[in-house]
């Protein structure tokens, strides 16, 4: 009986290892970006936008407007790096204020933050690689 149990355990472990190994390269990178992005978000963004991405009344907009984030995906890197000055419409409300620039952030840090934000707070947009951040930053209008 105990031999049987051991056998089942071994098989399950093997399956587990197999699955883990099968996690694609991109999934692992995504997980790494997401974790690093969470840390950066909490240090650089959460004061105003909140740990839960809910913003603060009409002072700071929430990051839960998936439509806005999707439509402006290629501009997010510019917003973060160069800051943003209103007015902008988020979830049907007009926000006017100044988001400070974060000029010292590297492409990969920006990509990590975008990966975290666009996959948290009810958003699900998937992986955003650093090459993409580099390319998007070439096209900033400000």
């Amino acid at each position: 009986m105990s031999k049987n149990k051991f056998g089942i355990f071994s098989i399950l472990s093997l399956i587990g290892i197999f699955f883990y190994a099968c996690q694609s390269e991109e999934e692992i990178t995504y997980a790494r970006y997401y974790t690093a992005g969470k840390q950066l978000y909490e240090n650089k963004c959460a004061n105003c936008h909140g740990n839960d991405g809910a913003g603060l009344a009409m002072l700071y907009p929430p990051l839960t407007d998936s439509t806005f984030l999707k439509q402006n995906k290629t501009k997010l890197a510019c917003y973060i790096k160069n800051g943003l000055q209103g007015p902008i419409q988020i979830s049907g409300k007009n926000y006017e204020g100044i988001m400070p620039a974060q000029a010292t952030l590297s492409d990969i840090e920006i990509a990590e933050i975008i990966t975290y934000i666009t996959n948290s707070f009810g958003n699900k947009q998937g992986f955003y690689p650093y090459q993409q951040a580099g390319a998007d930053l070439q096209n900033c209008s400000n």
Binding site: N47, C48, G50, L56, A57, M58, L59, Y60, I98
Partner: protein, 213 residues
């Protein structure tokens, strides 16, 4: 038998002590003075209290200590363009305001330390965007000379200008609880939710103190 009575008495006393209403400490400097009352000399303690003040608020009206008579209040120091600890503090302060909304015995007083830019029109914009209306929560502008010394001397909160800081201004995020006699009864880190919960507990205790009187 005799001992049993003593033991019972002792436990009774201890219980009486622990069941007594919990009161908040009185913080700050204090000094004792001798007074002569009815021909007898008694020693009285004088506690530190918030001296008289007068500031321009978000509605361009001068408000003073008199407007806070008969209420306990929570004071803090902030500025409208601050993007470090202020948003966290006022996110938490909103929770406290929600709990005591409409309670005329509870008020809030936020002093701006950005004396250059935070004039009433900016304070009004800030309050409106924060969703604060009415006069329970006052946002005030004071002169540069007074506001930093009021912070340090009256409320025991450090606030000063520092060119090396990212926004040029440095301040601590304390929520200071003031009683109806304008004495300091507690100070809580306004950026930490557990301390803000403690503040609300203590505010209930303080309000009870006055109900019992």
């Amino acid at each position: 038998m005799k001992y049993l009575v003593y033991i019972l008495l002792a436990t009774g006393l201890i219980q009486a002590c622990s069941n007594g209403p919990k009161t908040l400490p009185i913080l700050g400097e204090r000094q004792t003075v001798e007074k002569v009352i009815d021909g007898k000399t008694v020693i009285d303690t004088i506690y530190q209290h918030i001296p008289a003040f007068s500031y321009l608020n978000q509605d361009s009206v001068y408000i003073s200590n008199v407007d806070f008579d008969g209420s306990i209040y929570v004071a803090d120091f902030f500025f409208t363009s601050c993007n470090t600890i202020c948003p966290i503090m006022h996110r938490n302060m909103l929770t406290v305001l929600d709990k005591y909304k409409g309670n005329e015995h509870v008020k809030f007083l936020s002093h701006s330390i950005d004396t250059k830019y935070d004039w009433p029109n900016r304070l009004k914009k800030y309050a409106t965007k924060l969703g604060v209306t009415g006069n329970q929560w006052q946002f005030v502008h004071g002169s540069k000379d007074s506001i930093y010394s009021v912070a340090a001397k009256s409320y025991l909160v450090a606030a000063y200008e520092d060119g090396a800081a990212p926004q040029g201004l440095v301040h601590q995020g304390w929520f200071v609880l003031i009683d109806k006699e304008k004495r300091i009864r507690g100070a809580y880190d306004g950026t930490k939710t557990d301390q803000v919960a403690q503040l609300m507990n203590d505010m209930d205790l303080l309000l009870q103190e006055y109900e019992q009187k």
